[in-house]
Symmetry: C2
Subunit: 201 residues, 2 copies
Amino acid sequence: MPKGIPESVPDDGLTTRQRRTLPITAVHTGPGKGKSTAAFGMALRAWNQGWSIGVFQFVKSAKWKVGEENALRVLGASDQGGTVDWHKMGEGWSWLQRSTEMTMSSEEAAKEGWEQVKRDLAAERYRFYVLDEFTYPMHWGWVDVAEVLEVLGERPGSQHVVITGRYAPEELTSFADLVTEMTKVKHPMDAGRKGQRGIEW
Amino acid sequence: MPKGIPESVPDDGLTTRQRRTLPITAVHTGPGKGKSTAAFGMALRAWNQGWSIGVFQFVKSAKWKVGEENALRVLGASDQGGTVDWHKMGEGWSWLQRSTEMTMSSEEAAKEGWEQVKRDLAAERYRFYVLDEFTYPMHWGWVDVAEVLEVLGERPGSQHVVITGRYAPEELTSFADLVTEMTKVKHPMDAGRKGQRGIEW
């Protein structure tokens, strides 16, 4: 990816410098591998800039991605780079009382996750957000896509947001600045292999 | 990605346990973002397993991916997880004398990088290799694809190899266990934005 001259310069009245700090909304979607993995790879760059990172995992099982979680926690706790907060729906959101969380359905938990993201965006709590597998609550109608776009469109400051998962709503990909589709070409599980430690998680 | 039952069980005489430790060859290709980023994300999982990681960057410019490099160096130097060695063609391969490296063409440097990978594979030096942008020396004919497949096919032990870059040769994707194509759907540079610190590097 060259740092060179863009193909066209938009007529938006912004300077190059202003355009450089515009908040990015990125979406990693498609049936292939690497959607979340690439988001956590992006978080390494954000960490290296000293940015505060908030990860919100909108998945029921908290077991997956423990490698990335451990790595980012070690980085966040190191004396270099930015901070890392890692929130998991699957273990109960960290900001909820255990007793509250126990009685929640997946739908309620997903909605509550989004409410917290809204609060954090309003407060400019993080500079870089990973909303991991957040496409699913939108796809299932648990979280309103129009509201997501409104909140993202009006978020203050320069907060970057990366959303991962299959079935990204078309309105979201239209809205986003950066959209990558991961296409599955070949996977070892097709050949009857099971998931491998260190490779799959 | 469920850990469940594979769709078919191969008639290869291996137990599930044996299949679980088979060395994986993964290829991230295509014109979209996230090929290298996802490879470095995979390295987080490898690190979390305590595996030794060797990164070989087959690119002329050493400036890119400094975020991922710094993060993986901090992880490698921490008291948890595996070790990390990061080798960059763009700064001169670490195992070469500066005077030798200065007189090398890009083609010679790429060939020398591959020779070192061969030596390291033979010695089982690392458990997890990222051969970043290694598709290009193959695409340009600097490194012989047939030899790469032979070396990878005969590598000892359980050494995992991830190769990134556009134009992955068809023989390589046929050989690989895991192939993901990153498709560019939309990119901010299309809208006239330049690369952003913390996002692009």
